[in-house]
Structures are given as structure tokens and as C-alpha cells.
């Protein structure tokens, strides 16, 4: 019996797919799994697990939080970057918030409220500044750690006399970060209002914070992977004094450990220098154990 052409063609297609599935979908990956059993390679193929006293404590490639049960940073450890995934490898994510995400949603119920990326950055910077004893101020941030953003209302929308100015990310009992804007007194925001929809023009205020803040960029931003195992050498540097104090160690000795766990650019030009936080903290526990 001769099959119609279209049927024969689809049968050939099905046979081809099955052949390739066996070859490329089973034989090839399983052969590579077998290659991954080669001594020396097996540790990496299994996820670069690191252990202390025979117990796995993580992977040297996967970042983790060094916080206590309540989510507060543990001062004797170097801290990782913020993570949109909470360092959970089963739910990796980035924040995906855009460069002009500057207006918080402040609802009457806290659960429906949402911080803008700017306020997240400002809040982190302020918290790290206090924690590590450095200047936590940043451009476009208020001193109480939210985005310094005004909604400016004018008589004709975009033009005309200013009728009203609201600091959109600050609610009572805060004090407006600016007393007045072009002569008009600045009000605090009321929960439940959308000042942009009501016609206010979003106006971020730069302020007088230094352009290169003391708290480095990676310390206040969430990573791409949500699992970034690294911090910049600059972020490690501002943490040295605190960690040394907590461990009764010489800051110079802690600094030496930091550089020992810093990888430079591969071949001198690939990527950026980075400090592996988990490996650094493990080394600290070995060299300067706390009681």
C-alpha cells in the first residue's frame, strides 16, 4: 500500500524527531553527565558545594543571605547584595523595575503598598550607612530613606502657575524633605492617592548628596540572578571595620582575607573584580572564630 505523500512526509518527520530525541536528548546529555563524574570535574558538575565539618553549607557559586531569623543582618558576617529572589535558588528572579520607577504606591492597607525602585535604593543606602557607619546619603533620596520625588500641580497641567506640591513618597509623621518648592509649600502624601493620575508632574529632586555615594552601587541594587555570590571590593571595604570589631580582629588581617577572596578580571579584561561572600565568611569563621 502506498501512503499519500503528505502522510509519508509527516511520518518521516516523526521518525526524524524520534531519532534526534534519542541522540541529542538522551545520549548527548547523559554522556555529558557521565563526563561530569570524572574526578576533579565532579565537584563542579554537582554544583560546587562547600561544606563545614562534613555538612553542606551552600555552593560557592550561589549567594546566600547572612541574616538572622528575623531578617536582620548578622554583623559578624560580610553581607551579600540585595536579592529580588531572597537568595532562593528555586525561585530565581530580578526586580525588573525600570529606571524611572520613582513613585511609591502608598495604599491605606500596608499589604497593597509597593515601594518604587528609587525608594528601595534609598532605604537600603540609609540602612547600610547606619549599619556600617558610613554616609548613607544618595542623590534623589531623602534623609529618611525614601525617593525625593515631588508631584507638581500646575494650573494648565504641564504649564502655568504651581498650585500644589506633594512629596509623593513621604507620609505622616515624616517631615517633607523640602519646605517649599518655587515658593509653594510642600505637602506630605496621603495614603490611597495616585498623584500622577490626579495630574501631578513627577519631579525628582537631586538634593546635595555626593554624586559618588559612600555606599557602593552593588550594595543598593538587586542583582540579575537573584543569587549573586559576589560583592564589589568597594562594598567589602566599607564592611571591614564592622566585621573586624565584631570578631576582635585586626582590620588589616580582615582586609587581607578580603583580597584573598577577590577574583580580578579574567585575563585582565573580562568582567569586574568581585569578592566571593560565602567563601570570605567561611574563611573568617576559620581564622577569627567568634565565641
Amino acid at each position: 500500500m502506498r501512503l499519500p505523500t503528505w502522510l509519508a512526509q509527516h511520518l518521516a518527520a516523526l521518525r526524524a524527531l524520534l531519532v534526534f530525541t534519542v541522540l541529542l536528548g538522551l545520549a548527548y546529555p547523559l554522556a555529558m553527565v557521565a563526563v561530569g563524574r570524572i574526578p576533579g570535574l565532579d565537584g563542579k558538575a554537582d554544583g560546587s558545594l562547600v561544606s563545614v565539618a562534613g555538612r553542606n553549607v551552600g555552593s560557592s557559586l550561589i549567594g546566600q543571605s547572612f541574616t538572622d531569623g528575623d531578617g536582620n543582618p548578622v554583623p559578624r558576617y560580610f553581607q551579600s547584595r540585595p536579592s529580588a529572589a531572597g537568595y532562593d535558588p528555586t525561585a530565581t528572579a530580578a526586580s525588573n523595575l525600570g529606571p524611572e520607577s520613582v513613585v511609591d504606591t502608598i495604599a491605606s492597607t500596608p499589604d497593597d503598598s509597593k515601594q518604587s525602585l528609587l525608594t528601595q535604593v534609598c532605604a537600603r543606602s540609609r540602612a547600610i550607612g547606619e549599619f556600617d557607619g558610613v554616609d548613607g546619603r544618595r542623590p534623589y533620596c531623602t534623609t529618611d530613606g525614601v525617593g525625593a520625588v515631588l508631584a507638581v500641580f500646575r494650573t494648565d497641567g504641564l504649564t502655568g502657575r504651581i498650585t500644589r506640591v506633594v512629596s509623593v513618597n513621604q507620609v505622616a509623621p515624616a517631615t517633607p524633605f523640602l519646605g517649599s518648592y518655587q515658593g509653594v509649600p510642600v505637602e506630605l502624601a496621603q495614603p490611597g492617592h495616585d498623584y500622577v493620575a490626579e495630574g501631578g508632574v513627577v519631579t525628582p529632586i537631586r538634593g546635595d548628596a555626593p554624586a559618588e555615594p559612600a555606599v557602593p552601587a552593588d550594595a543598593v541594587t538587586a542583582s540579575a540572578s537573584g543569587l549573586d555570590p559576589h560583592i564589589s571590593p568597594a562594598y567589602a571595604e566599607i564592611q571591614v571595620a564592622r566585621v573586624a570589631r565584631e570578631r576582635d580582629a585586626d582590620p588589616a588581617a580582615v582586609r587581607r582575607l578580603v583580597s584573598a577572596h577577590t577574583t580580578g578580571r579574567a585575563l585582565g579584561f573580562m568582567g569586574e573584580p568581585a569578592v566571593n561572600v560565602l567563601e570570605l565568611n567561611l574563611a573568617l569563621d576559620r581564622e577569627f572564630p567568634t565565641r
Partner: protein
């Protein structure tokens, strides 16, 4: 070395590597697609598939073979996902929801690899390696095969046939993709990419928290995902995930793998039509557009304009420390200049103009250098359009490589060009008309950018995203699935039809009136036509999204 200098050297080293490799590798590709000697494995494959490797196909039969193979693949992948809970290594995951399974099946068969799901919480190891990763290979081979068929159309004279799809598919897969994948996977494993079948290792962290270290056959999939310009991540955060891209040098290698086949195909084109210089002209167009785009992306990201990047003092949101700003921007450009769509940083958090560049790269039709195969055939279509436009301007008969560009040819080329803009703009409009844009995470112009990016990415078979938008809804999965399907196979049909009609012609000898298509003038004209066509089509949409936000 400053960050900027390191970024420049990084880029130059990639250029140098591609320049060094494209000739020998292109020559090897040429031998693969034009050779006739069969290996023992190939003979076994042909026997199992039941095809006669010596029989050639007309364009219509070739196209039907492509479509049959893809249709069967979509059905197979759909069923695979729906039944995964009954299969080995499912990690206890439920069957994938129907609209999601449809979207993913189309996504991987069309070389798009758009992902509405998180790999680590949706797909078992078996679906990933024996379902999705298989399509990473064969969808790439389909693209290269179609490009080769088009080039045969230019190269052949008074011929009815364009080659045999099954032979092309088999040879490209077994002689090009698989060997490189084996060595590439090994290199990635040395860098730290995982390759196991573990369901995850539970650990207690230093401060007493718990963490599950995930497993999977990742290295074997990561390499072909880049080499085949696919882009579907094993995990949600794709090539930013340290288990997919652990070091700064694996990052370099992955970008190189993305670009190596697309930049070597013009060499194959030159050899097949018997004039290397024609291949160089095409490569030059690709290189000019690509370098301009990579440079601009880097400039915008390093400048870090915008409120949040200024507050942070660097565009570091959504970027990992080891890659930094520059190498992330270079990856973003490479992945969208091709049809890859893998990401090592999150484009949604880029500066407004920095995030516009990946979108423009895709809107260019992904021709610089484009996806494997699809980049070459896309650019050849643009070259045909250019010849036609130039002919109109100076009153010369339009011809390319001795083949007349008559009314049938230019109709096919125009239809090819019109499909993706139509899908992008109609899709974006439909999302707003039906209120489905409300799933965007960001508001204002950035919300429009998220929707526009989604349709641009799907229709051009890229697969990257402004990932803030939630697309796991029946409407989004269905709409984007349709865009991917039509954005892949309608152009392929037109390309093959064009190839068929070119192959039938007898090449006319070059005359006084022939426009030389290997000179810088022609290169400049193709660049100009490409940029102008895209600008005319997409400027209004861009003005409402990234331009409104960034200027």
C-alpha cells in the same frame, strides 16, 4: 584598567576572535552543506527516517518538509509537557497548563525560546533535556538549512531543486552543532556550570537558613542554547544564573558561541555563489550594524542616565557584580542582534535608552548578524530590496548575483519584510485594546515598552524580555504563541519560494548597467535601507515608549 577600557578590550577580543575564526569555520560549514559523502551514522539516520539522501526537493517539497517536521515537533513537545508528571525525572512537577504548553512548544520549535515560566519550578529534567534541548539543536538546523536553500537558489542555474531538507537537517546537526556542543559543554563544566540529574541538595546556610541548591543537565543545554541562538534558560534568570554562567570567561565564551555561526555564514554564502567578495559585503553590513549597536548600548549603560541610575551612581540594578555594566551591555546587544534572547542581566532595569537598543536590534529584523540561518536569509532579503530600490533610483534593471529581481521576487521579499512589523504593531495594539497590557509591572512609558518588547521579541523569534510583565495568562500565551509561529514560518515559506524562483533563472552576465554588489557603496546602501525601513516602521511606537522615558 578602568571599567570602560576593560569593556572595550572585551569587545575587541570578541571581534578579533570572530575575524580569526569565520574563515576556517565558514569553510568547514561550506563543506558540510555542500558535501555528499555520508558517514555511517548518517546512513543509519537516513534509513531510520526513511529518506533517500540522493533525492533533491523542489522549493515546495522542501517547505512542506520544514513545516511537517516543525508541526510534529510542536505536537510532540506539547504532549511531553502535558504528560511530564508521569515521566522519569519530573521532580514532582505538575503537568504544564495547556496554554503554557502550547506557548512553550511553539517557542522552542521556532527558535524563539520565549519563556513565561520559571524553569526551576515548572519543567522536569527530562522535558528540559529530551524535549526543549532537542529543539535547541534542530530548530537551529532548520534555520541554517533554509538559509542554505536560499543561497542555492542564487547559486544554481535553471534548476528545479534546492537540496534535500532531511539531509541538510541531519548533516548540520551532526557535523556542526553536536561536536561543538560536546566541547563547549565540557568547557562550561570546567567553569562551574552544573551537569547532573539531581533533584536538588538541601543545605543549611552559615546563619542557619535553608537553601536548596538546584541541579540539572545544564551545561549540555547551555552550550547549544547559545550556539543555536535559542536562548531558553534552564533557570528563570537565564545566563545570569551562576549555574549557567559562573565566571567572567564563561560569559565571554557564551557571547562568542552566540555570534560564531551567524558571522561565519556569509563566508558560506560567498563560497557557494563562487565569489568570496559577495560574502564579505554581507559580513560588512552585519559588522557595521552590530558594532554601532554594541557601542551605543555600552555608551548608554555606562553613562547611566535616569533617576534611579543617577541615585545608584551606576546602572547596576538587574546586573551581577562579576559581569559589571559593560560586559552585561555587550551580552544584551549580542543576544538581541541575533535571535538568541538569553540574558545575563535584566533589560527591564536598563536605562531608558540602553533598554531601547535591544528592542531596536530586534526591530532591525535580527540581521546583524541575526539568528543562525535566519540572519543570513533576512539580510539577503534586505539586499534584494536594496537592489530593487537602487534600480528604481537610477533606472537600472534590478539584479542580484546575475538573477533578475522581477515582480515575483520583489513581492516575496516585501511580504517577508512586512510580516514581523505587522505582528509587532498589531499585537501591541491588541494588548492595549483588550486591556491585557495591565499585567505590565511598570507604569507609564515603561509599561508600553514592556508590551512592545514582548511582541517584538516574540514576532522576531528572539525570546528575551522586559521581564517585569506577567505573561502567564491564556491571552498572552496564546497571542505570543501565534506571533512566534507566524513570525517564523511565513517568512520561511517566502524565503523558500524566492529561492525556488531564483533557482529556475539562468544568471544573466553582468553588463554596464549592473550594480556591483560587493563594493562599499552597496554595503552602505544596504545599511541605509535597513535602518530607514526600521525607522519608518517603528519610530512612532518607540517615541511613546523608551524615547518618551529617556529624553
Amino acid at each position: 584598567m578602568t571599567m570602560t577600557t576593560a569593556g572595550i578590550v572585551f569587545l575587541l577580543s570578541l571581534v578579533a576572535a570572530l575575524v580569526a575564526v569565520h574563515k576556517p569555520f565558514g569553510d568547514y560549514l561550506y563543506r558540510v552543506v555542500s558535501g555528499t559523502r555520508q558517514s555511517r551514522v548518517e546512513r543509519v539516520v537516513y534509513r531510520l527516517v526513511g529518506v533517500n539522501p540522493a533525492a533533491e526537493q523542489t522549493w515546495a517539497v522542501y517547505a512542506r518538509s520544514v513545516l511537517a517536521f516543525s508541526a510534529v515537533s510542536i505536537l510532540f513537545l506539547y504532549g511531553f509537557q502535558r504528560l511530564q508528571n508521569h515521566l522519569w525525572l519530573s521532580l514532582g512537577f505538575d503537568p504544564v497548563v495547556p496554554h503554557g504548553a502550547w506557548n512553550t512548544a511553539v517557542s522552542f520549535v521556532t527558535n524563539t525560546n520565549w519563556q513565561w515560566y520559571s524553569g526551576e519550578s515548572t519543567m522536569g529534567h527530562l522535558v528540559q533535556m529530551a524535549g526543549l534541548a532537542v529543539q535547541n539543536f534542530v530548530s537551529a538546523s532548520v534555520g541554517i538549512a533554509v538559509a542554505v536553500a536560499l543561497v542555492r537558489g542564487f547559486a544554481r542555474s535553471r534548476a528545479g531543486e534546492l537540496g534535500n531538507f532531511w539531509v541538510d537537517l541531519t548533516r548540520i546537526t551532526l557535523r556542526i552543532l553536536l561536536p561543538i556542543a560536546v566541547f563547549g559543554a565540557l568547557a562550561l563544566m570546567i567553569g562551574g556550570v552544573v551537569q547532573n540529574l539531581s533533584g536538588g541538595t538541601d543545605v543549611t546556610t552559615l546563619t542557619g537558613g535553608s537553601q536548596t541548591i538546584t541541579g540539572g543537565p545544564v551545561a549540555s543545554q547551555e552550550v547549544i542554547k547559545q550556539l543555536g541562538t535559542n536562548g531558553g534558560g534552564y533557570y528563570n534568570t537565564n545566563s545570569a544564573h551562576p549555574f549557567e554562567n559562573p565566571t567572567t570567561w564563561t560569559n565571554w565564551l557564551e557571547i562568542f558561541l552566540i555570534l560564531v555561526i551567524p558571522f561565519s555564514l556569509p563566508r558560506v554564502f560567498g563560497r557557494m555563489v563562487g565569489q568570496h567578495r559577495q560574502g564579505y559585503a554581507i559580513a560588512a553590513v552585519m559588522a557595521i550594524l552590530a558594532l554601532a549597536s554594541v557601542t551605543l548600548t555600552n555608551v548608554f549603560e555606562l553613562a547611566g542616565h535616569g533617576t534611579v541610575p543617577q541615585a545608584v551612581a551606576a546602572a547596576m540594578e538587574g546586573k551581577d557584580v562579576r559581569f559589571g555594566v559593560s560586559d552585561s551591555a555587550t551580552f544584551a546587544a549580542a543576544t538581541t542582534l541575533t535571535s538568541t534572547g538569553a540574558v545575563n542581566s535584566f533589560h527591564d532595569s536598563y536605562t531608558a535608552l540602553g533598554g531601547m537598543m535591544p528592542m531596536i536590534n530586534m526591530m532591525l529584523g535580527e540581521v546583524a548578524p541575526g539568528g543562525v540561518g535566519s540572519g543570513l536569509y533576512g539580510l539577503l532579503i534586505l539586499a534584494v530590496v536594496t537592489v530593487f530600490v537602487a534600480g528604481l533610483m537610477v533606472g537600472r534593471t534590478p539584479e542580484y548575483l546575475g538573477k533578475k529581481i522581477g515582480s515575483r521576487e520583489i513581492k516575496l521579499a516585501s511580504l517577508y519584510f512586512l510580516i514581523t512589523p505587522a505582528l509587532v504593531l498589531i499585537g501591541t495594539a491588541a494588548a492595549f485594546a483588550t486591556g491585557n497590557n495591565s499585567t505590565a509591572l511598570n507604569v507609564g512609558p515603561h509599561g508600553l515598552s514592556e508590551v512592545l518588547y514582548a511582541f517584538t521579541s516574540a514576532s522576531n523569534n528572539n525570546g528575551s524580555a522586559f521581564a517585569g510583565i506577567t505573561v502567564n495568562t491564556p491571552w498572552w500565551n496564546t497571542a505570543l504563541g501565534l506571533c512566534m509561529l507566524l513570525g517564523r514560518f511565513l517568512p520561511i515559506i517566502f524565503v523558500l519560494a524566492l529561492a525556488g524562483s531564483l533557482a529556475r533563472q539562468k544568471p544573466a552576465p553582468a553588463s554596464e548597467g549592473t550594480l556591483p554588489t560587493h563594493r562599499p557603496l552597496f554595503v552602505g546602501m544596504v545599511v541605509g535601507v535597513t535602518v530607514i525601513l526600521v525607522a519608518l516602521t517603528f519610530l512612532p511606537a518607540l517615541a511613546l515608549g523608551p524615547l518618551a522615558e529617556g529624553l
